[in-house]
């Protein structure tokens, strides 16, 4: 469960202070599928970074499954990300010259646990890429690369998947396939799914849509 209360984020841009988030409070229950929408500059990426523990808020409190993560150190946040959060990016962010299987194994390298290859294989099978394990990213289509990225997000069995414009670089047919995959993962595994998107058709898949504007929820 994500509980955010009165969060602000202020960036210092030279002499100017930029208030990316200006007092946001929200609660996302386990297993919810939420879309965060808003125009560019609305603070949705900043909010996503804070929810994903990639960044800390300037002020306010953030409780993830009951633990206050707003004041954690960088290494503690790294451990939280590793255990609880899976990321899917618009740019896929796969390591080049590295097989799909090894890409999926990557988060397991930073956690304690055995059977890395088996778990990575299972994750790839879950996204329908059992026959592409040895392929490198440049040998895969965009949709396949995003599936590898989703498998990488799933491999640590996180409770939350954060996706930043996951279909932004895909055609509409592939987008639909990826959305179908998310839908399956959400319903079969009960994972909390949070999307950041500016595409209303993508947001329409979500059970709940949060609109941001100028750093506040509208």
């Amino acid at each position: 469960m994500i509980e955010i209360e009165n969060i602000t984020k202020v960036y210092q841009m030279g002499e100017m202070e930029v208030r990316a988030l200006n007092g946001i409070s929200l609660k996302i229950e386990d297993g919810e599928w939420t879309a965060i929408m808003g125009p560019s500059g609305s603070g949705k990426s900043t909010l996503m970074a804070i929810i994903g523990c990639l960044d800390s808020p300037t002020d306010g409190s953030y409780r993830l499954d009951g633990t206050d993560v707003a004041k954690m150190s960088d290494d503690e946040l790294a451990a939280v990300r590793n255990k609880k959060i899976g990321f899917v990016f618009q740019q896929f962010n796969l390591l080049a010259r590295t097989s799909a299987l090894e890409n999926v194994e990557l988060p397991l390298l930073y956690s304690s646990g055995n059977h890395r290859a088996d778990r990575a294989k299972a994750a790839l099978e879950a996204v329908g890429l059992a026959d592409r394990m040895k392929h490198h990213p440049n040998e895969l289509s965009g949709g396949q690369q995003q599936r590898v990225a989703i498998a990488r997000a799933l491999v640590t069995e996180p409770s939350i998947i954060l996706a930043d414009e996951p279909t932004g670089n895909l055609d509409s047919k592939t987008s639909a396939e990826i959305m179908k995959l998310f839908s399956e993962l959400h319903s079969t595994r009960g994972i909390t799914v949070i999307f950041v998107t500016h595409d209303p058709t993508i947001a329409a898949n979500a059970h709940r849509v949060i609109h941001l504007m100028d750093g506040v929820v509208v």
Partner: protein, 412 residues
């Protein structure tokens, strides 16, 4: 299981092979540095070993007396203090002093030695029979100079092994004659080959004649009615009596030279150990000097490594961001990049050691200096390249580890 060493190395090798030309050129800096350290140290060590061997080969219990006072640490030829020549008569008075086994006065000069075939300018040394006690086992065949040769001023000569090759075409010269300084001498013996002394200096051309013959026919320096000698070599009875012998020689010569008590001597008595220590010191400094010059190129190579690693960190900012996003801690990234630098440096180090050993072998084959690649220099070079990897890797790796995940992910 946390990210372990072998995975780090595997990922480092993958990153390095991703850009082979760049990694290769970067490594070349380390290869040249380490290769230079190994090669130059091997040349220095080889020179040191050859000088040490030669000095020890001259005779372990040998004491050398020469005129003037010479600071051991000063370059040879730099004189100092008063000088009075040593004479044959003085040398003879050293016989029978405590600790003294044999006294071998010598007079040296460079003379043209020729026969029908060829002429060479060589070192001609006038000696007494005691020379063969001071320098045992140096005669190859024939006979050495005898007491009657000295008393009779015989025109006989014992030639070096190289003379046999140069003047006699390898045939046995015993019984044949040579002209030294235009005077006919009969060859009665041949010395053993001493081997190359290094630095192009060979003892194998040295030719020995009776001391009195040298006085009469080759050397014209006299003090009054006395014949002066270049050096007096004294053989001590054994290694324990070296200091006794040195003291008794010094006392005796001081009396003969009328040195007032407390005044400086006008001659020097030096043991082989002193000469060895001085030579070792000089060649040791030379070796360190060569190594230091090579070390500079290793540092330059290290800076090249750092430069490339900084470029690599910048290029792979998004990768670093991703790794952090999926749970890499600060030190995971630090170790990853540090492993990459160290792998690069150590690979360069290993290749450099092979290159250095190759250069050393080439120098050896050329025959100028017998080089020695010591285990020490290999460890030193290897350790140094690892240290370069760590030292020049820490800054780029720290920079990578300190990146904020969200900024790194958004980096274009």
């Amino acid at each position: 299981m946390r990210l372990n060493f072998s995975q780090n190395v595997r990922s480092a090798l993958r990153a390095l092979t991703a850009n082979k030309l760049r990694s290769g050129l970067t490594m070349l800096g380390i290869v040249i540095g380490v290769g230079a350290v190994v090669a130059l140290l091997s040349i220095g060590t080889g020179a040191q070993a050859s000088i040490t061997n030669r000095i020890q080969g001259i005779g372990a219990n040998l004491i050398t007396v020469f005129e003037g006072t010479r600071n051991q640490n000063a370059p040879s030829g730099a004189g100092g203090g008063a000088t009075a020549p040593l004479t044959y008569e003085e040398a003879q008075q050293l016989n029978g002093l405590p600790g003294v086994e044999a006294v071998a006065p010598q007079v040296q000069s460079r003379q043209p030695v020729k026969n029908a075939r060829k002429q060479e300018n060589v070192q001609v040394v006038g000696v007494t029979p005691d020379y063969s006690i001071a320098h045992p086992d140096q005669l190859d065949h024939g006979r050495f100079i005898s007491a009657s040769d000295v008393s009779g001023k015989s025109r006989i000569a014992v030639v070096g092994a190289q003379i046999v090759t140069d003047l006699f075409g390898g045939l046995d010269p015993v019984g044949k004659s040579v002209k030294i300084n235009g005077i006919l001498f009969q060859v009665v013996g041949v010395m053993k080959s001493q081997g190359s002394g290094g630095f192009g200096f060979s003892r194998d051309t040295t030719t020995y004649v009776p001391l009195t013959t040298a006085f009469a026919r080759l050397s014209r320096t006299r003090v009054g009615n006395e014949n002066t000698v270049s050096t007096i070599e004294v053989s001590a009875l054994n290694s324990d009596s070296i200091s006794t012998a040195m003291a008794s020689i010094t006392d005796k010569l001081a009396v003969l030279h009328k040195i007032k008590s407390g005044a400086a001597n006008d001659f020097t008595v030096q043991s082989q150990a002193d000469i060895l220590a001085a030579a070792t010191q000089v060649t040791g400094v030379l070796t360190i000097f060569l190594g230091a010059i090579a070390g500079i190129s290793l540092v330059v190579g290290g800076i090249g490594v750092m430069n490339i690693m900084l470029v690599s960190v910048t290029e792979r900012t998004r990768e670093i961001g991703l790794r952090k996003a999926v749970g890499a801690r600060r030190r995971d990234i630090l170790y990853q990049f540090l492993t990459e630098t160290i792998t690069l440096s150590l690979l360069g180090g290993i290749i450099g050691i092979l290159v250095g050993a190759g250069i050393s072998a080439l120098v050896n084959a050329s025959g100028t200096i017998a080089t020695v690649v010591s285990a020490q220099s290999v460890f030193l070079a290897f350790g140094f390249s690892a240290a370069v990897g760590i030292f020049f890797g820490i800054y780029p790796a720290n920079r990578a580890a300190g990146l904020k995940p969200i900024e790194a992910l958004r980096y274009e």
